[in-house]
């Protein structure tokens, strides 16, 4: 019996040692990117003298092997299930579940020196002042629309014993708002508006995603449009609630935070879109190429998972929506992915709506504005990005 057990054990052990590399060879991931981890798979390391001598060459193979293990996503999902559902750890894959099932990013403990805020705010607002000067020079208007990120919006639902960092976001917002006011720039901080309208029955932010939902987007759109129409003194065709029919997609929604948990969040929420009762016709080009005139990228079947990329099909470097109504003004909207659901609404008010995402576009914003001279320029950013000069904070 002992001998038999030893032989069996050795066969299983050695079999496992051999099966993993064989499976990598035969059934290793053929994907180029890991969806749940939102990153590209590591490529085989390149052999060169420097990498060889430093030991990097061999150590990179370790990363490659880990990435290409057969069934990697299933293994990682199982590991997440162990930590999240079975062992009930507070933070799993950088995600924390707060009151009401809201998913948050885990905020590392630490301290932040706030002295830098004023300097950073001044620098970024100087750039924004340059943009404002350019826009006003030809009679246009520039607005900076500030939105709370989901974790800032629901900060009071973050577990008490963890550090929600809201004090840091508040300090950043205060420094930024002060610098904008000093330069006479139009800063529309929508946090108070959204917070006042939020109810348990009709939340404005997703619980499992870092964005607002369609209701939040619609409220933001209305609020901004009220300010624009008042400033322009024009009666623009702003969509009212009656013009839109909200529709919850039947597909399972995978929010960005839930995605980090491999969809294991026990809660549920639907992705909502606003269907225009009397649709405004338009043409669409993405990065200069005509594409179907759609503002929602809907899946083929109801079983497919949907995510925030339903709005405008996700982040695109440059999108142009033309409604061919020259009597209306033109809009340029730039910012991170918060712009996506907003674009599905704003385009109905303008003749031509241009959208830029400077994270994926090397164009000079000032040159672009000078070239197209939009009547209204909107910068849409979340409150954790106000002081960032990267991506859509790259004004000059």
């Amino acid at each position: 019996m002992k001998r038999f057990s030893e032989v069996c054990f050795i066969l299983l052990f050695v079999g496992f040692l051999c099966a993993v590399p064989l499976l990598i060879l035969l059934h290793g991931s053929k994907l180029q990117a890991l969806y749940y981890e939102n990153r590209a798979l590591s490529a085989p390391p390149e052999l060169n003298t420097q990498a060889l001598l430093s030991g990097d060459y061999f150590s990179r193979w370790d990363g490659w092997l880990t990435d290409h293990v057969a069934g990697r996503e299933r293994l990682l999902k199982l590991n997440t299930w162990l930590d999240y559902r079975l062992l009930d750890r507070p933070a799993v894959n950088g995600i924390v579940e707060g009151a009401g099932g809201v998913l948050f990013p885990f905020q590392a403990y630490g301290t932040w020196d706030l002295d830098y805020l004023a300097g950073d705010a001044a620098a970024i607002c100087d750039d924004l002042a340059a943009l404002d000067e350019l826009v006003t020079s030809y009679g246009g208007r520039f607005y900076y629309v500030g939105l709370p990120l989901q974790n800032a919006f629901y900060y009071d639902r973050y577990p008490d014993y963890l550090e929600n960092r809201y004090w840091h976001i508040s300090a950043m917002t205060e420094a930024f708002a002060g610098a904008m006011a000093d330069r006479g720039l139009a800063f529309l901080d929508l946090e108070p508006v959204l917070r006042a309208a939020q109810t348990e029955e009709r939340p404005l932010y997703a619980a499992s995603d870092h964005h607002f939902n369609y209701y939040g987007a619609y409220l933001a759109y209305r609020t901004v449009m009220e300010r624009i129409t008042a400033d322009l003194g024009r009666d623009l065709p702003v969509l009212t609630a009656d013009d839109l029919a909200s529709e919850d997609l039947p597909n399972p929604f995978l929010g960005s935070r839930d995605r980090k948990l491999y969809g294991l969040w026990p809660g549920s929420e639907a992705l909502t879109i606003g269907v225009q009762r009397d649709p405004v016709a338009f043409d669409r080009t993405d990065n200069g190429t005509p594409v179907p005139a759609q503002v929602f990228r809907l899946p083929a079947t109801e079983a497919e998972t949907v995510d925030y990329n339903v709005y405008m099909g996700g982040d695109v470097a440059e999108t142009v929506l033309s409604t061919h109504r020259p009597e209306l003004p033109d809009l340029l909207i730039f910012g991170d992915s918060f712009t996506n659901p907003l674009e599905t609404l704003f385009y109905t008010v303008f003749d031509e709506t241009r959208s830029l995402d400077l994270r994926y576009n090397d164009v000079s914003l000032l040159d672009y504005v000078a070239e197209h001279r939009p009547d209204v320029v909107l910068c849409v950013r979340d409150d954790t990005s106000y002081l960032s000069a990267e991506g859509n904070g790259r004004i000059r």
Partner: protein, 471 residues
């Protein structure tokens, strides 16, 4: 290369097993050749240039041992020269930066050499030294085949993080070992238990310890510092003893029988006992090659105190070129002297529970000294543990760490105790069919289950350092 890596587990080890066991057992020289080739690659994996250093060390010790053998001319000089050469290599690569940076504090403008520490240099240097010294003392025969010396020093299981294997332990096995199914099976079980210690406990506790030991002193709370100390106490034990388990297990798989390196050190009832149970191969090395030659304890009290201080200062410095390591070594010297001359007898009269508590708290404080970046930080950390914490008694962060790592903290307790030995003894004593079944299949099934979990963690996590690689 680390044992708990994809490359080792699923490329290096299967290829080595195939190359080794496809050769017939009688082709001992060829099997040794395969082991040597793979061992050299194992070392070169982390940075090929350091392989040359290890080969130089092998050459020095091989030649030195031939010259230092009894009956040769000037064996003492040969031994002294070889020892000096070994220590010079270790000194330059491990201590030059520390020495010059401290000298530069008083001698402004002195250039400080930037020397990269080759992994495992302390281990292979001490193995080489023990070989030469044993030959010089006549306790081992000088090996004429340089490949055998090379295999002894570079044998991959114990190459970079111990245990420090004495030549006399494996000399015969290099030539005439016999690999068996039982040995291979027991070795693989041991290896998988070690891997699980590393992947499931040490790495998680290490995450916690790293974060807490990065906290600025003004944010210390009493609870946080105790948690940090406990986490590191767990991490270093499961990390290092896990590695030793893997090394001993791998040795078994290839027919070698290394001596034990740990014997449940946290059940000690005194600091003296702790050092009989912790990193046994290092303690015995210093005992045999430094402490006893200095006179050991068979001398006057004053000389004994000197011997203890010298050995423990060296033990501290062996762990790293930093004042914290020296302080850690001297801290143990003082405790050992205290137990020998001051409170040892009183300690023995205390209830066992209090003695365990005494030993554990002192060990814990020792690890704080060991883990801290500086003596100042260690001082503030320890002060905070005993109430002088700027942040008060507790905070939310402590609660988070308790919740986040509660399973590892809980599991660390039974895993530090000799429960497995106790259970095996009980089962053996019962002598029933069921107990026989459990004895036969239980450890193997547990090992495979732990392997699956370790694999899952390995694929999922990127935090995988071995603490003792840097020594």
């Amino acid at each position: 290369m680390v044992f708990s890596s994809m490359t080792f587990l699923f490329v290096f080890l299967p290829l080595l097993l195939a190359a080794y066991y496809l050769l017939p057992a009688r082709a001992r020289a060829w099997r040794n050749g395969v082991l040597l080739a793979f061992s050299l690659f194992f070392y070169a994996y982390g940075g090929p240039p350091f392989l040359l250093l290890m080969l130089l060390s092998i050459a020095v010790n091989y030649t030195g041992a031939l010259w230092a053998a009894p009956g040769r001319r000037h064996p003492r000089a040969a031994m002294a020269l070889t020892t000096a050469a070994d220590l010079a290599l270790l000194g330059w690569f491990k201590y030059a930066g520390f020495f010059f940076s401290n000298l530069a504090r008083v001698w402004t403008g002195l250039p400080v050499p930037e020397v990269t520490l080759p992994i495992g240099i302390s281990f292979f240097t001490f193995q080489g030294l023990s070989y030469v010294l044993d030959v010089y003392r006549g306790q081992a025969r000088a090996q004429r085949n340089p490949l055998h010396v090379a295999l002894y020093i570079s044998l991959f299981p114990q190459l970079v993080a111990g245990p420090i294997v004495r030549y006399t332990t494996v000399a015969e096995e290099i030539l005439t070992r016999r690999e068996t199914v039982s040995d291979f099976s027991a070795g693989a079980v041991r290896f998988l238990f070690g891997l699980a210690k590393k992947m499931l406990l040490a790495n998680q506790l290490g995450l916690m310890a790293d974060e807490i030991f990065a906290v600025r002193p003004e944010f210390f709370t009493v609870s946080l510092t105790w948690l940090g100390a406990i986490a590191y106490t767990g991490q270093i034990y499961f990390d290092f003893s896990g590695y030793s388990d893997m090394a001993i297990g791998l040795g078994h798989m290839f027919g070698f029988h290394f001596l034990e390196n740990f014997n449940y050190p946290y059940i000690s009832r005194s600091v003296t006992e702790f050092w009989r149970r912790w990193h046994i191969s290092l303690s015995t090395w210093f005992r045999d090659y430094v402490y006893i030659p200095l006179g050991g304890n068979r001398c006057s009290a004053a000389r004994h105190i000197r011997n203890i201080l010298v050995v423990w200062a060296l033990t501290g410095f062996w762990h790293g070129a930093a004042w914290t390591f020296l302080a850690w070594g001297l801290y143990y010297a003082l405790l050992l002297l205290g137990e020998k001359y001051l409170w040892g007898r009183a300690l023995e009269r205390l209830p066992a529970l209090l003695r365990h508590l005494y030993a554990l708290v002192l060990i814990l404080l020792g690890w704080v000294l060991f883990r801290s970046e500086s003596l100042t930080y260690a001082g503030r950390f320890i002060s905070a543990m005993f109430g002088a914490a700027a942040g008060g008694w507790t905070d939310g962060r402590s609660l988070y760490y308790l919740l986040q790592f509660r399973w590892e903290l809980l599991l660390a307790i039974p895993a530090s105790l000799p429960l497995r030995d106790w259970a095996l003894r009980r089962l053996e004593a019962r002598d029933t069919a069921l107990s026989g079944l459990v004895l036969t299949w239980g450890p193997k099934a547990a090992a495979l289950g732990l392997f699956a979990l370790s694999f899952l963690r390995l694929v999922s996590s990127s935090y995988n350092p071995f603490i003792y690689f840097r020594f």
